[in-house]
Amino acid sequence: MTDLAVDLGFLKLRNPVLTASGTFGYGLEFEPYLGLEKLGGFVVKGLYFEPREGNPPPRLVETPSGLINAIGLQGVGVRAFAEKVLPRLRGRGTAVIVNVCGADDDEYLRVVEFLDREEGIAAYELNISCPNVKKDGMCPALFPGPTHDLVKRLKAVSRRPVITKLSPNVTDIVEIAQAAAEAGTDAVALVNTFLAMAVDIETRRPKLTNTFGGLSGPAIRPLAVRMVYQVASRVKVPVIGMGGIMTGADALEFMVAGASAVEVGTANFVDPDAAVRIAGEIGAWCEARGIARVRDVVGTVRA
């Protein structure tokens, strides 16, 4: 029986499969389909301090093996989250990670300071990469300086581990990951979505009201695996990998490339029980090959 537990140093997980922010709601939506306690953990939808309206529809476009979204981070804000949602997530026997957003550095800080007073949160995932919020898709994660400063300020206040989630829309992902590591991040998570666009040739309008959106799904997997490999082989903090994971084999590809854990995103839309199925497939694969501990496959790729 393969041991599926993974240890990120600051956080032990029952298995390496987390669900990705924005693709798993607040977790509760999935209770009819899976046992939350069977997950390594889940990352809740991106939270700003204040509630957010989000973008006008259409917010989604399907592309070949991919999905472009421009939800615009619609959400309830920290207060409603702390009052209405968090209490229902406590004691579920799984790690609850909050995806922290901010219109500016101060809002990130206010979210963390507010949530630090609440119980039942295992870690913060900083969503410093937010391709579809600002029209030009610019955000701290695109540059090492701002990434370093924001992470440093948040680490200074936070009583909880901080995972920095990186944007793939950069020339050199290693440089950004390095900046986050030097600022003291406990781990990096990659990738967030790729800035994308689709045009309706009949109406001559962008298919998304927001013009731009973020591409996710199997289409981006080869780009995400490349980035995870580059970062894991050159930066010293644990890497959480994601991008187009639909099966246990996909998840293992990220782990062999260097990811200590993975997040499952778009797959949750196709199969509400995808994350648990994937954890099972990882176990069965290791089992069949006599691998005693799943953590032994992490970073075993020989290039």
Partner: protein, 262 residues
């Protein structure tokens, strides 16, 4: 709500671009209510990637029917399904049309355009069972878009057809037909499903005549279960209005809650 990965196709029928599939699925069928929908995985590769939402056209203790029009790759793949093939469906999802108690003897008018007829057959039969008098106003571009007239009638539903080209029934939009009928007879409730433009026109008439109406809304859906926030429509509630996930609170909404954009 269930995931039925191996629902066996029992019947497959086609009329041009319109198709009907009956699958064996007790898990979904037994809980199904009119106006709810299922999310169906078309094909077993990543293209199409997302499930496709289809309304429940009918449901029994062990079966589910869907009725759809080919739009793109997903519905094309579904249209090729044959008896014996299997379907991967998730549902029943969402909240359907309200079936008010004490509707006995009252007049329910169902207004459907094109593929929008899909949920109205199931709804019509349930309303009949409640003792309501049901009339279906069924519109489309041409007679070929109204393949279900006979089926509706043989289920005991009175059908008034409308075609843009006059090839069947009333010559004009189904909303125009409704305007005429509202002048002649009395409706206690309207149940509407169709293209936005048609529903907007109907909403105008409903408000003017003060007849309570419910509308089945559409939006691009990523998940169907409230997880992606993709399917929002502008909806009023006590406090004001905002973007509401129609897969969760809808797809059916009462007229007073719907904010018609554009």
């Amino acid at each position: 709500m269930a995931i039925d990965r191996q629902a066996k196709v029992l019947e497959a029928e086609s009329w041009g671009d319109y198709h009907l599939l009956r699958v064996e699925s007790p898990a979904v069928g037994r809980e199904a209510r009119p106006g709810q929908f299922v999310m169906i995985k078309a094909g077993d590769t990543t293209v199409p990637l997302l499930r496709r939402p289809l309304s429940l056209h009918d449901a029994g203790p062990s079966t589910v029917d869907v009725f759809f029009r080919t739009a793109g790759e997903g519905t094309r793949i579904l249209a090729r399904k044959r008896p014996g093939d299997t379907l991967d469906l998730l549902g029943p999802l969402g909240k359907g049309y309200t079936l008010p108690a004490g509707f006995k003897g009252r007049n329910a008018w169902l207004v459907g355009g094109g593929r929008g007829i899909a949920p109205l057959y199931f709804l019509g039969r349930e309303l009949l069972a409640l003792g309501a008098k049901v009339v279906v106003l069924y519109g489309g571009r041409t007679r070929g878009d109204l393949p279900l007239v006979d089926k509706l009638e043989s289920a005991g539903l009175a059908v008034l057809a409308a075609t843009d080209d006059g090839s069947l029934g009333f010559h004009g939009l189904v909303s125009e037909l409704l305007r005429r009928e509202l002048g002649r007879g009395r409706a206690d409730r309207l149940c509407v499903c169709g293209p936005d433009a048609m529903m907007k026109a109907v909403a105008g008439l409903a408000d003017a005549s003060g007849v309570p109406a419910e509308y089945s809304l559409e939006a691009m859906m990523g998940c169907g279960i409230g997880a992606c926030w993709g399917c929002v429509h502008r909806i009023r509630d006590g406090s004001g209005d905002g973007w509401v996930k129609i897969c969760e609170e809808g797809p059916v909404f009462p007229g007073e809650r719907v904010v018609w954009e554009g």
